[in-house]
Protein backbone atom coordinates (compact mmCIF):
# COMPACT_ATOMS: atom_id res chain seq x y z
CA UNK A 1 0.00 0.00 0.00
CA UNK A 2 1.44 3.42 -0.93
CA UNK A 3 2.55 5.42 2.06
CA UNK A 4 2.12 9.15 2.12
CA UNK A 5 5.21 11.35 2.15
CA UNK A 6 8.88 10.57 1.67
CA UNK A 7 11.22 7.88 2.75
CA UNK A 8 14.98 7.79 2.66
CA UNK A 9 16.65 5.07 0.66
CA UNK A 10 20.00 3.70 1.62
CA UNK A 11 22.37 4.84 -1.12
CA UNK A 12 23.28 2.06 -3.55
CA UNK A 13 26.72 3.47 -4.20
CA UNK A 14 29.63 1.44 -2.85
CA UNK A 15 31.72 3.90 -0.87
CA UNK A 16 34.96 1.97 -1.12
CA UNK A 17 36.79 4.22 1.38
CA UNK A 18 34.38 3.18 4.14
CA UNK A 19 33.69 -0.50 3.56
CA UNK A 20 34.92 -3.37 5.72
CA UNK A 21 37.97 -5.18 4.31
CA UNK A 22 38.46 -7.65 7.19
CA UNK A 23 37.19 -10.70 5.28
CA UNK A 24 39.11 -9.62 2.16
CA UNK A 25 42.37 -9.33 4.06
CA UNK A 26 41.76 -12.63 5.85
CA UNK A 27 41.23 -14.34 2.49
CA UNK A 28 44.27 -12.76 0.88
CA UNK A 29 46.35 -14.14 3.74
CA UNK A 30 44.75 -17.60 3.85
CA UNK A 31 43.67 -18.39 0.27
CA UNK A 32 45.97 -16.41 -2.08
CA UNK A 33 44.40 -17.91 -5.23
CA UNK A 34 41.57 -15.44 -4.52
CA UNK A 35 43.72 -12.79 -6.23
CA UNK A 36 43.75 -14.60 -9.57
CA UNK A 37 39.99 -14.37 -10.16
CA UNK A 38 38.97 -12.51 -13.33
CA UNK A 39 35.24 -12.77 -12.55
CA UNK A 40 34.43 -14.75 -15.68
CA UNK A 41 31.53 -16.53 -13.96
CA UNK A 42 32.34 -20.10 -14.91
CA UNK A 43 32.09 -20.99 -11.18
CA UNK A 44 28.55 -19.62 -11.05
CA UNK A 45 27.61 -21.37 -14.28
CA UNK A 46 28.51 -24.78 -12.89
CA UNK A 47 27.35 -24.17 -9.31
CA UNK A 48 25.01 -26.89 -7.94
CA UNK A 49 23.50 -24.57 -5.32
CA UNK A 50 23.13 -21.82 -7.91
CA UNK A 51 20.86 -24.02 -10.00
CA UNK A 52 18.23 -24.15 -7.26
CA UNK A 53 18.76 -20.93 -5.28
CA UNK A 54 19.88 -17.38 -6.03
CA UNK A 55 23.38 -18.19 -4.74
CA UNK A 56 26.00 -16.54 -6.98
CA UNK A 57 29.56 -17.30 -5.97
CA UNK A 58 31.09 -14.84 -8.43
CA UNK A 59 29.02 -12.06 -6.89
CA UNK A 60 29.97 -13.30 -3.43
CA UNK A 61 33.66 -12.92 -4.31
CA UNK A 62 32.96 -9.50 -5.79
CA UNK A 63 31.23 -8.35 -2.59
CA UNK A 64 34.18 -9.60 -0.53
CA UNK A 65 36.52 -7.52 -2.72
CA UNK A 66 34.40 -4.45 -2.20
CA UNK A 67 34.12 -5.05 1.55
CA UNK A 68 30.33 -5.46 1.60
CA UNK A 69 30.16 -7.76 4.64
CA UNK A 70 26.39 -7.51 5.11
CA UNK A 71 25.82 -8.96 1.66
CA UNK A 72 28.07 -11.92 2.42
CA UNK A 73 26.70 -13.41 5.66
CA UNK A 74 23.57 -15.16 4.39
CA UNK A 75 24.99 -15.88 0.96
CA UNK A 76 27.94 -17.94 2.11
CA UNK A 77 25.64 -20.41 3.89
CA UNK A 78 23.98 -21.39 0.60
CA UNK A 79 27.08 -23.16 -0.76
CA UNK A 80 26.92 -27.00 -0.68
CA UNK A 81 30.72 -27.36 -0.92
CA UNK A 82 30.60 -29.69 -3.94
CA UNK A 83 33.76 -28.08 -5.36
CA UNK A 84 32.77 -28.07 -9.03
CA UNK A 85 33.62 -24.37 -9.16
CA UNK A 86 37.25 -25.20 -8.38
CA UNK A 87 37.36 -27.84 -11.13
CA UNK A 88 36.03 -25.48 -13.78
CA UNK A 89 38.04 -22.33 -12.88
CA UNK A 90 40.44 -21.22 -15.68
CA UNK A 91 42.65 -19.40 -13.18
CA UNK A 92 42.89 -22.11 -10.52
CA UNK A 93 40.91 -20.23 -7.88
CA UNK A 94 40.03 -22.51 -4.97
CA UNK A 95 36.47 -21.28 -4.61
CA UNK A 96 35.47 -24.05 -2.22
CA UNK A 97 38.17 -23.09 0.21
CA UNK A 98 37.22 -19.44 -0.20
CA UNK A 99 33.74 -20.29 1.09
CA UNK A 100 35.21 -22.19 4.04
CA UNK A 101 37.60 -19.35 4.85
CA UNK A 102 34.82 -16.76 4.63
CA UNK A 103 32.81 -18.82 7.12
CA UNK A 104 35.90 -18.90 9.36
CA UNK A 105 36.34 -15.17 9.03
CA UNK A 106 32.71 -14.49 9.90
CA UNK A 107 33.03 -16.63 13.05
CA UNK A 108 36.19 -14.77 13.99
CA UNK A 109 34.48 -11.42 13.45
CA UNK A 110 31.65 -12.51 15.72
CA UNK A 111 34.07 -13.55 18.44
CA UNK A 112 36.08 -10.31 17.92
CA UNK A 113 39.18 -12.15 16.74
CA UNK A 114 39.28 -10.20 13.47
Amino acid sequence: MPVFGFKINKPRVIDYDNTDKRILNYLLANEPSFNSCIFCGSCTATCSAGHFTDFNIRKLKMNIRRGLIDEIKDEVEKCMLCGKCFLVCPRGVNNRNIVLKVRDALTKIESHEL
Binding site: V13, P32, R58
Partner: protein, 350 residues
Protein backbone atom coordinates in the same frame (compact mmCIF):
# COMPACT_ATOMS: atom_id res chain seq x y z
CA UNK B 1 74.46 4.45 -59.19
CA UNK B 2 72.48 2.70 -56.48
CA UNK B 3 68.84 3.59 -56.05
CA UNK B 4 67.91 6.10 -53.38
CA UNK B 5 65.40 5.75 -50.60
CA UNK B 6 64.28 8.57 -48.31
CA UNK B 7 62.89 7.52 -44.95
CA UNK B 8 60.72 10.10 -43.19
CA UNK B 9 60.78 9.81 -39.40
CA UNK B 10 63.55 8.63 -37.09
CA UNK B 11 61.64 6.55 -34.58
CA UNK B 12 61.89 2.77 -34.30
CA UNK B 13 60.38 2.13 -37.74
CA UNK B 14 62.49 4.68 -39.59
CA UNK B 15 65.70 3.65 -37.89
CA UNK B 16 65.26 -0.08 -38.40
CA UNK B 17 64.05 0.26 -42.01
CA UNK B 18 67.00 2.57 -42.81
CA UNK B 19 69.45 0.02 -41.47
CA UNK B 20 67.95 -2.82 -43.48
CA UNK B 21 67.50 -0.86 -46.72
CA UNK B 22 71.09 0.26 -46.43
CA UNK B 23 72.21 -3.32 -45.85
CA UNK B 24 70.43 -4.27 -49.09
CA UNK B 25 72.62 -1.77 -50.92
CA UNK B 26 70.32 1.22 -51.29
CA UNK B 27 71.45 4.77 -50.57
CA UNK B 28 69.32 5.80 -47.63
CA UNK B 29 68.67 9.25 -46.19
CA UNK B 30 66.82 9.32 -42.89
CA UNK B 31 64.94 12.52 -42.06
CA UNK B 32 64.21 13.37 -38.42
CA UNK B 33 62.33 16.48 -37.34
CA UNK B 34 63.98 16.65 -33.92
CA UNK B 35 67.65 16.88 -33.04
CA UNK B 36 67.84 13.24 -31.93
CA UNK B 37 66.59 9.84 -33.04
CA UNK B 38 64.46 7.34 -31.17
CA UNK B 39 61.01 8.97 -31.21
CA UNK B 40 58.77 8.13 -28.28
CA UNK B 41 61.02 5.27 -27.22
CA UNK B 42 63.42 7.78 -25.62
CA UNK B 43 60.77 8.60 -23.02
CA UNK B 44 59.94 5.04 -22.06
CA UNK B 45 62.02 3.72 -19.15
CA UNK B 46 61.05 0.05 -18.95
CA UNK B 47 59.19 -1.96 -21.60
CA UNK B 48 56.51 -4.63 -21.45
CA UNK B 49 56.28 -7.60 -21.40
CA UNK B 50 59.76 -8.45 -20.11
CA UNK B 51 60.58 -5.22 -18.24
CA UNK B 52 63.76 -4.60 -20.21
CA UNK B 53 65.15 -1.06 -20.47
CA UNK B 54 63.90 1.14 -23.31
CA UNK B 55 67.34 2.59 -24.01
CA UNK B 56 68.68 -0.88 -24.92
CA UNK B 57 66.44 -0.84 -27.99
CA UNK B 58 67.52 2.70 -28.89
CA UNK B 59 71.19 1.71 -28.71
CA UNK B 60 70.52 -1.41 -30.84
CA UNK B 61 68.99 0.81 -33.51
CA UNK B 62 71.71 3.47 -33.28
CA UNK B 63 74.41 0.82 -33.56
CA UNK B 64 72.77 -0.47 -36.75
CA UNK B 65 72.73 3.01 -38.25
CA UNK B 66 76.40 3.56 -37.38
CA UNK B 67 77.44 0.22 -38.94
CA UNK B 68 75.62 1.05 -42.17
CA UNK B 69 76.76 4.69 -42.13
CA UNK B 70 73.25 5.85 -42.90
CA UNK B 71 72.95 9.55 -43.73
CA UNK B 72 70.74 11.15 -41.10
CA UNK B 73 69.43 14.71 -41.46
CA UNK B 74 68.29 16.15 -38.12
CA UNK B 75 65.88 19.06 -37.62
CA UNK B 76 64.52 18.26 -41.06
CA UNK B 77 61.27 19.96 -42.00
CA UNK B 78 59.79 18.99 -45.33
CA UNK B 79 58.46 21.92 -47.36
CA UNK B 80 57.27 20.10 -50.43
CA UNK B 81 57.33 16.76 -52.22
CA UNK B 82 57.11 16.70 -56.01
CA UNK B 83 56.60 13.58 -58.13
CA UNK B 84 58.88 13.75 -61.16
CA UNK B 85 58.30 10.75 -63.44
CA UNK B 86 58.98 7.73 -61.21
CA UNK B 87 60.96 9.68 -58.63
CA UNK B 88 60.13 12.04 -55.83
CA UNK B 89 61.86 15.34 -55.14
CA UNK B 90 61.77 16.25 -51.47
CA UNK B 91 62.56 19.84 -50.52
CA UNK B 92 63.57 20.65 -46.97
CA UNK B 93 63.41 24.07 -45.35
CA UNK B 94 67.21 24.17 -45.24
CA UNK B 95 67.23 24.42 -49.05
CA UNK B 96 68.24 20.79 -49.35
CA UNK B 97 66.74 18.86 -52.27
CA UNK B 98 66.63 15.09 -52.16
CA UNK B 99 65.75 12.73 -54.99
CA UNK B 100 64.16 9.43 -54.02
CA UNK B 101 63.30 6.34 -56.02
CA UNK B 102 61.18 5.22 -53.10
CA UNK B 103 59.87 6.95 -50.00
CA UNK B 104 59.12 5.29 -46.68
CA UNK B 105 56.77 7.22 -44.41
CA UNK B 106 57.46 6.39 -40.76
CA UNK B 107 55.98 9.40 -39.04
CA UNK B 108 54.52 7.57 -36.09
CA UNK B 109 51.94 8.58 -33.50
CA UNK B 110 51.23 11.33 -31.00
CA UNK B 111 49.91 10.52 -27.56
CA UNK B 112 46.29 11.42 -26.93
CA UNK B 113 46.03 14.81 -25.22
CA UNK B 114 44.33 13.95 -21.93
CA UNK B 115 43.15 17.57 -21.46
CA UNK B 116 40.42 16.73 -23.96
CA UNK B 117 38.77 14.42 -21.40
CA UNK B 118 38.14 17.36 -19.10
CA UNK B 119 35.90 15.30 -16.80
CA UNK B 120 38.92 13.15 -15.84
CA UNK B 121 40.60 16.26 -14.43
CA UNK B 122 43.94 16.22 -16.22
CA UNK B 123 45.43 19.71 -16.02
CA UNK B 124 42.80 20.66 -13.43
CA UNK B 125 43.85 18.46 -10.51
CA UNK B 126 47.55 18.10 -9.89
CA UNK B 127 47.41 14.45 -8.85
CA UNK B 128 45.84 13.32 -12.11
CA UNK B 129 48.69 12.32 -14.41
CA UNK B 130 49.10 10.32 -17.61
CA UNK B 131 50.94 7.04 -18.18
CA UNK B 132 53.55 9.13 -19.99
CA UNK B 133 54.02 11.38 -16.92
CA UNK B 134 54.36 8.29 -14.73
CA UNK B 135 57.15 6.99 -16.98
CA UNK B 136 59.00 10.27 -16.31
CA UNK B 137 58.54 9.76 -12.58
CA UNK B 138 60.03 6.26 -12.96
CA UNK B 139 62.93 7.73 -14.97
CA UNK B 140 63.91 9.99 -12.05
CA UNK B 141 64.43 6.89 -9.89
CA UNK B 142 64.39 7.24 -6.12
CA UNK B 143 61.13 7.40 -4.19
CA UNK B 144 57.85 7.69 -6.07
CA UNK B 145 55.84 10.71 -5.01
CA UNK B 146 52.62 12.22 -6.25
CA UNK B 147 52.80 15.71 -7.79
CA UNK B 148 51.67 16.95 -4.33
CA UNK B 149 54.80 15.38 -2.88
CA UNK B 150 53.34 12.52 -0.84
CA UNK B 151 54.04 8.81 -1.10
CA UNK B 152 50.86 7.44 -2.67
CA UNK B 153 49.05 4.70 -0.75
CA UNK B 154 46.23 4.19 -3.20
CA UNK B 155 46.60 4.61 -6.94
CA UNK B 156 44.00 4.29 -9.69
CA UNK B 157 44.69 3.54 -13.35
CA UNK B 158 42.10 4.42 -15.97
CA UNK B 159 42.23 2.33 -19.15
CA UNK B 160 41.11 3.49 -22.61
CA UNK B 161 41.71 7.25 -22.20
CA UNK B 162 41.38 8.63 -25.73
CA UNK B 163 40.71 5.15 -27.14
CA UNK B 164 37.43 3.39 -27.93
CA UNK B 165 35.68 6.66 -27.21
CA UNK B 166 33.30 8.27 -29.64
CA UNK B 167 33.33 11.46 -27.58
CA UNK B 168 36.91 12.20 -28.65
CA UNK B 169 36.34 10.74 -32.12
CA UNK B 170 38.70 7.81 -31.54
CA UNK B 171 36.76 4.62 -32.14
CA UNK B 172 39.78 2.34 -32.26
CA UNK B 173 41.69 0.44 -29.58
CA UNK B 174 45.26 1.66 -29.00
CA UNK B 175 46.53 -1.91 -28.40
CA UNK B 176 49.28 -1.15 -25.91
CA UNK B 177 47.62 0.77 -23.04
CA UNK B 178 46.09 -2.27 -21.26
CA UNK B 179 49.43 -3.99 -20.93
CA UNK B 180 51.13 -0.68 -20.09
CA UNK B 181 48.63 -0.29 -17.24
CA UNK B 182 49.52 -3.75 -15.96
CA UNK B 183 53.24 -3.08 -16.33
CA UNK B 184 53.12 0.29 -14.57
CA UNK B 185 50.90 -1.11 -11.79
CA UNK B 186 53.51 -3.80 -11.13
CA UNK B 187 56.34 -1.26 -11.15
CA UNK B 188 54.50 0.96 -8.68
CA UNK B 189 53.75 -2.00 -6.44
CA UNK B 190 57.45 -2.92 -6.49
CA UNK B 191 58.42 0.62 -5.48
CA UNK B 192 55.62 1.01 -2.90
CA UNK B 193 54.84 -2.53 -1.67
CA UNK B 194 52.08 -1.48 0.74
CA UNK B 195 50.18 0.57 -1.85
CA UNK B 196 46.74 -0.48 -3.09
CA UNK B 197 46.40 -0.35 -6.86
CA UNK B 198 43.16 -0.41 -8.84
CA UNK B 199 42.91 -0.67 -12.62
CA UNK B 200 39.57 0.42 -14.07
CA UNK B 201 39.00 -1.20 -17.44
CA UNK B 202 36.34 -1.72 -20.11
CA UNK B 203 37.91 -4.94 -21.45
CA UNK B 204 41.34 -6.28 -20.67
CA UNK B 205 42.90 -6.70 -24.11
CA UNK B 206 45.84 -8.98 -23.50
CA UNK B 207 46.33 -10.12 -27.05
CA UNK B 208 50.03 -10.74 -27.42
CA UNK B 209 52.58 -13.27 -26.23
CA UNK B 210 53.11 -13.05 -22.46
CA UNK B 211 50.52 -10.30 -21.98
CA UNK B 212 48.03 -12.65 -20.32
CA UNK B 213 50.84 -14.10 -18.21
CA UNK B 214 51.81 -10.59 -17.12
CA UNK B 215 48.19 -9.84 -16.23
CA UNK B 216 48.00 -13.02 -14.13
CA UNK B 217 51.33 -12.21 -12.46
CA UNK B 218 50.12 -8.71 -11.60
CA UNK B 219 47.18 -10.27 -9.74
CA UNK B 220 48.91 -13.25 -8.19
CA UNK B 221 52.26 -11.81 -7.22
CA UNK B 222 51.49 -8.10 -6.92
CA UNK B 223 47.82 -8.14 -5.83
CA UNK B 224 46.77 -5.51 -8.36
CA UNK B 225 42.98 -5.05 -8.32
CA UNK B 226 40.99 -4.90 -11.54
CA UNK B 227 37.55 -3.31 -11.57
CA UNK B 228 35.43 -3.46 -14.69
CA UNK B 229 33.95 -0.01 -15.14
CA UNK B 230 34.70 3.21 -16.92
CA UNK B 231 35.37 6.44 -15.07
CA UNK B 232 32.53 8.91 -15.33
CA UNK B 233 34.19 11.83 -13.62
CA UNK B 234 36.95 12.70 -11.19
CA UNK B 235 36.87 15.41 -8.55
CA UNK B 236 39.31 16.70 -5.97
CA UNK B 237 39.16 16.60 -2.18
CA UNK B 238 40.37 19.48 -0.01
CA UNK B 239 43.67 17.65 0.54
CA UNK B 240 44.15 17.24 -3.23
CA UNK B 241 43.25 13.56 -3.38
CA UNK B 242 41.07 12.39 -6.25
CA UNK B 243 37.56 11.00 -5.91
CA UNK B 244 36.56 8.75 -8.76
CA UNK B 245 33.11 7.50 -9.68
CA UNK B 246 32.55 4.40 -11.77
CA UNK B 247 29.95 1.73 -12.16
CA UNK B 248 31.33 -1.45 -10.70
CA UNK B 249 29.69 -3.36 -13.52
CA UNK B 250 30.25 -6.81 -12.02
CA UNK B 251 28.28 -5.94 -8.88
CA UNK B 252 25.93 -3.69 -10.89
CA UNK B 253 26.35 -0.86 -8.43
CA UNK B 254 27.88 2.60 -8.56
CA UNK B 255 31.20 2.81 -6.76
CA UNK B 256 33.21 5.71 -5.48
CA UNK B 257 36.74 5.70 -4.19
CA UNK B 258 39.38 8.19 -3.13
CA UNK B 259 42.87 7.74 -4.54
CA UNK B 260 46.12 9.61 -3.90
CA UNK B 261 47.05 9.59 -7.56
CA UNK B 262 45.13 8.86 -10.74
CA UNK B 263 46.98 7.64 -13.83
CA UNK B 264 45.31 8.00 -17.23
CA UNK B 265 46.46 5.40 -19.76
CA UNK B 266 46.57 7.57 -22.86
CA UNK B 267 46.23 6.05 -26.31
CA UNK B 268 47.76 6.75 -29.70
CA UNK B 269 46.63 9.16 -32.39
CA UNK B 270 48.04 9.75 -35.88
CA UNK B 271 50.90 12.22 -35.36
CA UNK B 272 50.91 15.77 -36.63
CA UNK B 273 53.76 14.73 -38.94
CA UNK B 274 51.68 11.84 -40.32
CA UNK B 275 48.87 14.25 -41.21
CA UNK B 276 51.28 16.71 -42.84
CA UNK B 277 53.04 14.09 -44.96
CA UNK B 278 49.73 12.49 -45.95
CA UNK B 279 48.64 15.89 -47.24
CA UNK B 280 51.89 16.54 -49.13
CA UNK B 281 51.76 13.11 -50.80
CA UNK B 282 47.97 12.79 -51.20
CA UNK B 283 47.97 9.57 -49.19
CA UNK B 284 44.69 7.85 -48.36
CA UNK B 285 43.67 7.84 -44.71
CA UNK B 286 41.40 5.67 -42.66
CA UNK B 287 38.48 7.22 -40.82
CA UNK B 288 40.72 7.21 -37.75
CA UNK B 289 43.30 9.37 -39.56
CA UNK B 290 45.94 6.63 -39.75
CA UNK B 291 47.38 5.79 -43.19
CA UNK B 292 45.39 3.33 -45.28
CA UNK B 293 47.13 0.54 -47.20
CA UNK B 294 45.97 -0.46 -50.67
CA UNK B 295 44.68 -3.74 -49.27
CA UNK B 296 44.39 -4.70 -45.62
CA UNK B 297 45.43 -8.32 -46.14
CA UNK B 298 47.73 -8.43 -49.14
CA UNK B 299 49.19 -4.92 -49.49
CA UNK B 300 50.01 -3.62 -46.03
CA UNK B 301 52.73 -0.92 -46.16
CA UNK B 302 51.75 -0.10 -49.76
CA UNK B 303 50.22 3.34 -50.26
CA UNK B 304 48.08 4.65 -53.09
CA UNK B 305 51.10 6.53 -54.52
CA UNK B 306 53.55 4.40 -56.54
CA UNK B 307 56.90 4.23 -54.78
CA UNK B 308 55.54 5.51 -51.46
CA UNK B 309 55.39 3.02 -48.62
CA UNK B 310 54.66 3.36 -44.94
CA UNK B 311 55.22 1.39 -41.76
CA UNK B 312 54.87 1.56 -38.00
CA UNK B 313 52.42 3.55 -35.94
CA UNK B 314 51.55 6.02 -38.71
CA UNK B 315 49.34 3.19 -39.96
CA UNK B 316 47.73 2.38 -36.60
CA UNK B 317 48.59 1.70 -32.96
CA UNK B 318 51.14 -1.07 -32.46
CA UNK B 319 53.66 -2.25 -29.92
CA UNK B 320 57.44 -2.11 -30.36
CA UNK B 321 57.57 -5.75 -31.43
CA UNK B 322 55.10 -5.19 -34.26
CA UNK B 323 56.77 -1.91 -35.17
CA UNK B 324 60.00 -3.80 -35.87
CA UNK B 325 58.11 -6.46 -37.84
CA UNK B 326 56.25 -3.84 -39.84
CA UNK B 327 59.42 -1.87 -40.61
CA UNK B 328 61.12 -5.00 -41.91
CA UNK B 329 58.01 -5.98 -43.91
CA UNK B 330 58.01 -2.56 -45.58
CA UNK B 331 61.69 -3.02 -46.47
CA UNK B 332 60.92 -6.17 -48.50
CA UNK B 333 58.14 -4.35 -50.32
CA UNK B 334 60.45 -1.45 -51.17
CA UNK B 335 63.13 -3.92 -52.28
CA UNK B 336 60.65 -5.68 -54.59
CA UNK B 337 59.44 -2.37 -55.96
CA UNK B 338 62.96 -1.12 -56.71
CA UNK B 339 63.72 -4.42 -58.44
CA UNK B 340 60.57 -3.84 -60.49
CA UNK B 341 58.57 -6.61 -58.94
CA UNK B 342 55.34 -5.01 -57.87
CA UNK B 343 52.91 -6.77 -55.60
CA UNK B 344 50.07 -4.76 -57.12
CA UNK B 345 50.47 -6.68 -60.37
CA UNK B 346 49.25 -9.81 -58.71
CA UNK B 347 45.56 -10.21 -59.31
CA UNK B 348 43.07 -10.44 -56.49
CA UNK B 349 40.07 -12.48 -57.60
CA UNK B 350 36.77 -11.62 -56.07
Amino acid sequence: MGKKVVVIGGGITGMEASVQLSALGYTVTLLEKENQLGGHLKDWTVLFPNLRKGHEIVSFLEHGLRLQEVNVIYNAHIKSIQKINKQYEITLDKKINLIADAVLVATGFDLFDAHKKEEFGYGLYENVITSYDLEKIFAQEGEVKTPSGIKPQRIGFIHCVGSRDEKVNNHYCSNVCCVTGVKQAMELKTLIPDAEIFNFYMDMRMFDTHFEELYLESQKKYGVNFIRGRLSEASETIDKRIIIKVEDTLTSRPLKMTVDMLVLLVGMEPSKGTKEIAKLLNLKLRESGFLRPEDDHTLSNVSNMPGVFFAGTCSGPMSIKYTFTDARAAVTKINCYLKEYELQHRILLN
